[in-house]
């Protein structure tokens, strides 16, 4: 399926709304195994994405993704800023060649892995992105698949990012970045895939 500029914009505005709605929850998740700022980090970042996108009258896919990347890189900071930022920057670059959703999200995942050096199973946002990419390859991305990927971070022991400091104690908690990525893909399902 193709990601048009209009759809891309709708997707990211929906993502912003979800983040604002769940801001406190994301911070609580981060408080448990990190430093408690993931909600405010993502809220600040997606707010900036929204501001950038609202300036674009005739959305064009690569431009929408690039504006999102710039906003995330320059407003979030912390770990999630460069990670989400790199994801969207890779997607923007890829969008110059193809707007196929599977290929775009796969490029985003590569951006995250390249920047953060995390693998599947390290209890990071990669654990949401990787199964999503697989599902998209089969044209089978559903809300259930997303929830399943997110929930699967619970039993994992964190090996990357701040949560790795608490070691064993991270087991049993959801990874906040996996959860916020879950919102990104639920928004994708709602605005683009359905």
């Amino acid at each position: 399926m193709e990601l048009t500029g209009d759809k891309a914009k709708a997707w990211l505005l929906n993502f912003e709304a979800k983040i604002q709605e769940h801001k406190a929850y994301l911070s609580d998740l981060d408080q448990a195994i990190g430093d408690g700022d993931h909600g405010s980090n993502m809220a600040r970042g997606t707010e900036a994405v929204k501001v950038n996108l609202e300036k674009i009258a005739e959305p064009e896919t690569a431009e929408v993704l690039k504006q999102a990347a710039m906003a995330l890189i320059s407003k979030v900071g912390g770990a999630s800023g460069p990670l989400y930022g790199s994801a969207f920057m890779q997607m923007a670059k890829t969008a110059k060649e193809t707007t196929d959703i599977h290929e775009l999200i796969e490029a985003g995942l590569e951006g995250i892995k390249h920047r953060g050096k995390a693998d599947v199973g390290d209890k990071t946002m990669v654990d949401t992105w990787a199964p999503v990419v697989e599902a998209l390859a089969k044209d089978a991305l559903t809300n259930e698949a997303i929830t399943q990927a997110v929930d699967a971070t619970k039993p994992l022991k964190a090996k990357k990012g701040r949560a790795s400091y608490v070691g064993e104690r991270s087991i049993g908690a959801l990874d906040p970045g996996a959860v916020s990525s879950g919102y990104l893909f639920t928004a994708l399902v709602e605005e683009v895939l359905q």
């Binding site: 430093d35 408690g36 320059s74 090996k159």
Partner: protein, 328 residues
């Protein structure tokens, strides 16, 4: 949460404004970036550091002659963004290149790396030194590696001195890379830190509890225990730090006792007394010390102890050299 602030979301900007009001004789801000930089830039390598806010006096308190050229302030406990850091790099370069001093946290590493890549695209020579002195965290492929904590300030001081003396970027980088392997820190807390926008402490300790191995972002540490006398805390921290540093047959060391933000200076000295008495067990000479608040964790009660290997007297000379900064 009781704090002398206005709105929680305004703390960083108002603090920054306060600093610039107070110290415009030698510091200035770069508009819209939360970068604090020295006005008078010598034609030498510029040292740039920074990180989340909440560690005051780090990092702005160490900007000035003989230490940092610029400090980049992130949100509270959140690494600054690449474009902020890029502006600091651009403004710090006098053609001799810029050295980034980065504390080892995933967020800091990635944001400083991105800024470095951006600066290189603008043909600025940039190198970076990663500080990971906190031995509370195991350094393995199962963690993000040891954290950078109070020992970072010693890196600022030593590299700042050599930069001031005119050392080239590559040499500073090699010197820094070797230096960080000789700095070890451990911290304890009697209370968690409260980020203004969060409004409650990062972790809660009971009336007779303490936590060993805390980081500087309200991260819990490696063991919760009942509150121990200073002497026993000194014994545990000194023991772990010395077994680390003695692997190199160290003969001379320096000590940094760092308050975490809400600890009275009198306690830091009581603790220092106990550290010295513990160190009698070891065949080392203490050739440098520093006691006070350098790398805090907002309003955390507690302290950290840093041990640095000073067998090379040049490091001691660098530590002792006078500087023109606010809080060294």
């Amino acid at each position: 949460m009781k704090k002398i602030i206005n709105h929680p979301s305004q703390v960083v900007d108002e603090m920054l404004k306060g600093m610039l009001y107070a110290h415009s004789d030698f510091l200035e801000g770069i508009d819209e970036t939360r970068v604090i930089i020295e006005k008078d830039k010598q034609p030498t390598v510029g040292l740039v550091s920074g990180g989340g806010s909440g560690h005051e006096p780090a990092h702005a308190g160490f900007v000035g002659e003989g230490m940092l050229r610029a400090a980049v302030l992130g949100e509270m406990f959140t690494s600054p963004t690449p474009d902020q850091i890029l502006e600091a790099i651009k403004a710090s370069d006098t053609g001799h290149g810029v050295l980034l001093i980065v504390k080892n946290y995933t967020g800091d590493v990635m944001n400083f790396d991105m800024a470095k890549e951006m600066a290189e695209m603008e043909d600025i020579q940039v190198a970076s030194v990663l500080v990971d002195d906190d031995i509370a965290v195991e350094d393995s492929t199962y963690t993000a590696g040891k954290r950078g904590v109070a020992g970072t300030v010693l890196v600022h001081k030593i590299l700042g001195h050599f930069a001031h003396e005119g050392m080239a970027l590559n040499d500073l980088k090699s010197l820094g890379d070797a230096l960080v392997t000789d700095i070890h820190t451990l911290g304890v807390a009697l209370s968690g830190a409260t980020v203004p926008e969060v409004g409650k402490p990062g972790f809660h300790l009971g009336e007779s509890e303490m936590e060993y191995g805390v980081g500087i972002h309200g991260e819990p540490g490696y063991r919760r225990d009942t509150l121990k006398p200073s002497r026993e805390i000194a014994k545990e921290l000194t023991g772990k730090l010395m077994s680390e540093i003695m692997t190199k047959k160290t003969k001379k060391i320096g000590l940094l006792v760092n308050g975490l933000g809400a600890t009275p200076l009198q306690e830091l000295y009581v603790f220092y007394n106990d550290v010295i008495e513990e160190l009698a067990k070891y065949d080392v000479e203490i050739v440098f010390n520093k006691i006070g608040d350098f790398m805090t964790s907002i309003d955390m009660t507690g302290l950290s102890l840093t041990v640095i290997r000073l067998d090379d007297d040049k490091r001691t000379v660098a530590l002792e050299a006078p500087v023109g900064v606010l809080n060294w």
